[in-house]
Amino acid sequence: MLLKAWGTHNALPAGFDMPPLLNQFSLLHAQTTPFPAWGAMHASFAEQAHLLGIQQPGHSLPVGMDSAAFALAHPALSPIQGHYVSPASWIPLADFSEPLLQAASGIMSVHGRASGRAQPLGVGYLATLTGAMALQATLAAAIGQLRGGTFQQVGVSPLGCGLLGIGQYLAGATAREEREHFLPGRANACLRPPFRSADGAVFELETLDSGPWRCFWESVGIKPDVAGTAWRAFLLRYARAMSPLPAECIEALAHLPYERIQVLAEQAGVAVVPVRTVAQRRQDVDYQRGQGQPWAFSEPAFAPGRPWTASAPTHLPLQGLRVIESCRRIQGPLAGHLLALLGAEVIRLEPPGGDPLRAMPPCADGCSVRFDALNHLKRIQEVDIKSPEGRQLIHELVRESDVFLHNWAPGKAQALMLDAEHLHAVRPQLVYAYAGGWGSAPVTAPGTDFTVQAWSGVADAIATASGTSGGSLFTVLDVLGGVLATLGVTAALLRRSLTGTGVHVESSLLGAADLLIRGNAPPPAGTLSGVYSTRSGLIAIDCQRPEQSRSLATLLEQLAGAACPASLPEQFHALAAAEWEVLLSARGIGACVVTEDLRDLAADPRIAECLGHRAYSFVKSPWSFS
């Protein structure tokens, strides 16, 4: 059925002849970057546009678009101008950099819950995330124009993008009842996954059920009550970004060779995934075959048709489009949430009785706030997708929808006869999207955030930067994977708007990881970047240019006066973090208070426009359109 494909992500028929997805579009960049200290952001934005086939001619923006950071052009469109925005009383755009935004948005705090202290991830995470979100808003605006709307200006808030990344944790930390209060550095950074064997192998364990977990730990000599304590911490690590395990568990595996652990785990039904390096990942056949594509697009062999009938959008570019989402946990629901923020009507399919995640505390107004943070904009339709009646209902919904998005386990869509082939037969103009775990990698372990971090080299990169043995327990890849799934859907919708044909798009956590690592450039030579304790709070400093470092040195000398020279960390104890931020920023030195308690975000008047408040604090759309 699938005749034309682009990308090599999945097992598609040979003979790819589909032209690069969006090769009729071109992207122009401003001559002067708005982010002199954040080159990785522009690089990732441009790379993702390139991966979608968008042309990027060498010349810069034409006269009249001087204030824009970039513009998307197409013969059928008025140019769409992109602008980056920042809250007026907050750090100016020109000072933005990866460490400062990770500090401000709470990512350092969440990462620090299990890594010993608030600290950067050590990878260009927000560069990749913001690049994707800037691009998807721009492509959405193009869809809006092609549907009769007037969307010529797009605003993107990098801070808003970062805040969306920790939206679930913010919800938990600000819930009216049963509020979570997890601060960085409180948990022992050694008593957490991954594990280390007697012969030095570092690896993740994964199982989604307590039975195999209990069986495995009993087989290595751990008493059931201790295994139970470990299970609770392990179970909640996705929600809490920490997993304080009993020392007995860590020690038991440290006395066994890796091969023996693999045998016992296999017998128990627990997956073992080694923490590999980026270099190892790059040797994988699927990596080399993938050519850097986080998406695989293909088009069904149906005659083109008119993809939509709704009236022109007025406020948001995807207004009037309908998305059917059948997703669990984080990656897929976040993708649906972003499509809803762009204006789509999202109908979320849940099993009879509702998604069990609705009950995970903290709860407010009858629902988990963490769940609500990702799903409050959606309409819920309960359906038993395994029953003939359920399938019939899904067909009826799909017949009047534009996107079907799922994140089921591999093979389930075919088993349910809800795969792209079946649903394109129902609705030829459908964008059928799968947000999976492993892409085409030959891995049978559950494709979850932490197993994919381990396999992809992301965990090793973060561990190396953080001084820990494993990756982040912040769901780095679920969030980025959700954002990239949305970008894939948006690109597919734009393609459809030109061709009138449906599209099948697949993305994965592993594709997100590969993209993240590829864009991860080492900091420029001479960079002075770090997080320092002050008299009150932590300050993140990022000096990328020699003159900034010199200016910092001069300032510290002035403040020290005649006192004995102190080491750099000691010198920061002279003032509070907020005072340092003002003092350093005024001298052109990149500096930002590190958000340690996520509640501080909700209380900070300078970024109030980014957040809304109900029974918990939630993150507003990082985009604006006009």
């Binding site: 989604l208 009550d225 139970g228 909640l236 669990r328 946990r329 069990p356 709860c363 009858g366 979850t448």
Partner: protein, 90 residues
Amino acid sequence: MSVSVIVPTLLRPLTNGEKEVYAQGNSVAEAIDHLETQFPGIKARLVNGDQVHRFVNIYVNEDDIRFADGLRTLVKAGDSLTVLPAVAGG
């Protein structure tokens, strides 16, 4: 034996809004049966036949009953039963 039961937010409509209620029994199963006599409908939210629902975790004090004797886990006077809905994976 009287044990206290910490009720998660979403089940509180069944316990008239009470966060902590009390139940009698020598095992978790008996305590849940007694809860059902006081708060009809609560048992079906916790167990399915002789198994705890997959996404429900029940602790006797700090111990997960799946790592003890399941619903047959014994309780004694003064013990605390905590119900925690949770889903593995991300």
